[in-house]
Symmetry: C2
Subunit: 327 residues, 2 copies
Amino acid sequence: MAMAFHPLAASRVHLSPLLPVPAAAAVAGAPASAHRRRFSAIVATAAASATTEFDFKSYMGERAASVNRALDAAIPAGDPPAALHEAMRYALLAGGKRVRPALCLAACGIAGGREAWAMPPAAAVEMVHTMSLVHDDLPCMDDDDLRRGKPTCHVVFGEPIAVLAGDALLSLAFRHMASVDSYPPDVDPEKHPARVVRAIGELARCIGSEGLVAGQVVDLEMTGSTETVPLERLEYIHLHKTAALLEASVVVDDILDVTKSSEELGKTAGKDLASDKTTYPKLLGLDKSREFAEKLLCDATEQLEGFDKEKAAPLLHLANYIAYRQN
Amino acid sequence: MAMAFHPLAASRVHLSPLLPVPAAAAVAGAPASAHRRRFSAIVATAAASATTEFDFKSYMGERAASVNRALDAAIPAGDPPAALHEAMRYALLAGGKRVRPALCLAACGIAGGREAWAMPPAAAVEMVHTMSLVHDDLPCMDDDDLRRGKPTCHVVFGEPIAVLAGDALLSLAFRHMASVDSYPPDVDPEKHPARVVRAIGELARCIGSEGLVAGQVVDLEMTGSTETVPLERLEYIHLHKTAALLEASVVVDDILDVTKSSEELGKTAGKDLASDKTTYPKLLGLDKSREFAEKLLCDATEQLEGFDKEKAAPLLHLANYIAYRQN
């Protein structure tokens, strides 16, 4: 079967589903850059229109179900070592809205690609995201006991297994992207190996000392610091740490952390403030933080103009959802 | 420039430099399998001959120097976040004989390939190996304070940074293999992206819940267990945990741990026994363990017969080194 498009080459339309940091940079209002302009060119214009006929809830539900099926199939349930696989599945299949994979799939859609192609990278991004949550929750890091309303991985399985489950999830993300078996029967990644290599390289870059991990390091350095944290430093943390496509959502996550109860949030409410964690609400106040989030949404929406409205609808709604999500 | 050979395709001559677990399986006497036979076909026959004119010490020294240069260049020394990069460099450039990379390069050599091609995978394997050491040394794991004669990463930089440095090294390994910049100017990995994808997939497989991590999980389960550990279980641990090409060396590492002082070993002597860690010496006794190592060396040597003697010399010497190394 001829293949006109590969989602890993989504940069053809100026958005790669595997470029979380630049995407975050755009949404979080980082200094202007080529990457920012690129992402902005996606997450906008089709904006206020094209919304009425699009059923966002169904869209998200269907994508989450597909992603969950892919994740479920990627980790054998009963195989030894059982404790490790159980811990990986516990963390990975704990729910979550799969916003990052949805963004990945929506980006593929706006580029005119087939979603089937985008599923392995979408699943890989979620594995990486889950790894970062499991490691960040560790007692020696943020020491969090609750995640998505459930006890965190190390609380249930112990610290050693939690560390190792994170390591295994990280390697699984790369194995998943590199394996022909991860792709649906009617698509053939072996015909486009250079794209797979490029996507793997980009994903790896966004995790390491220029991405996710770098953000967590600076976050840890700032936590409990007595000096006033400069806004740029907070932006650095978010641009890096959140490095999994959807990092603007963290702005709203921070707000939620102040105003919601543990039950609503599914995590320990107020924990970020209690632990002296640097957040936008702490630095700017709640109202200014909300304004900031809305301004970013406007910027993003503007730049979706010019794209096919129907194809842009999922991204448009995702941006809106991220800015206003209640949980 | 035309390129006749790519080390990532070394399986053409029945050995992939990126197949640590099967290689370990072969050397450690695992149940016969295709992989075992493949590796055996390499690590043998040229054996007792061809040794006199080969300067093993110079060979290893030159390879270690090349690998160290590649590793040094892969991590920016002063770039932020400084603590993270410092920790990564501390763990990665702490010395070590670079036996795994040397095996990788030697395997490329016997296959008739150019070593320049094998350097990125060789460096990646060392990054993965270092990651596993850093995480295994953590207080919640083996709680080791010394490694290669120096305080372990978490002792110097703290636990959070040690966890994150491991994560960053793991992602860097994949980034390194995927990046054109890792390859010497006169070789072009973009001409053989399918091989790069395959090698990345294999490396990822050997790390996760079927490899390194699986071995550490079972090792942790056995540590402190009151039941007698079956030999198969110990073999499982070594076949998996040691998953970085050279895992037969662990047999000797275990012996060293009993007989050497901390100063000689560069790690806390007797620690494995003190912590009730399962080892071959503990299970079989020292003499039987030595015999076992020698038998494995014989098996390996036999199977190097039939290869070009000059090309097989490095592998032959490496197998010998691994079986008899004093440290």
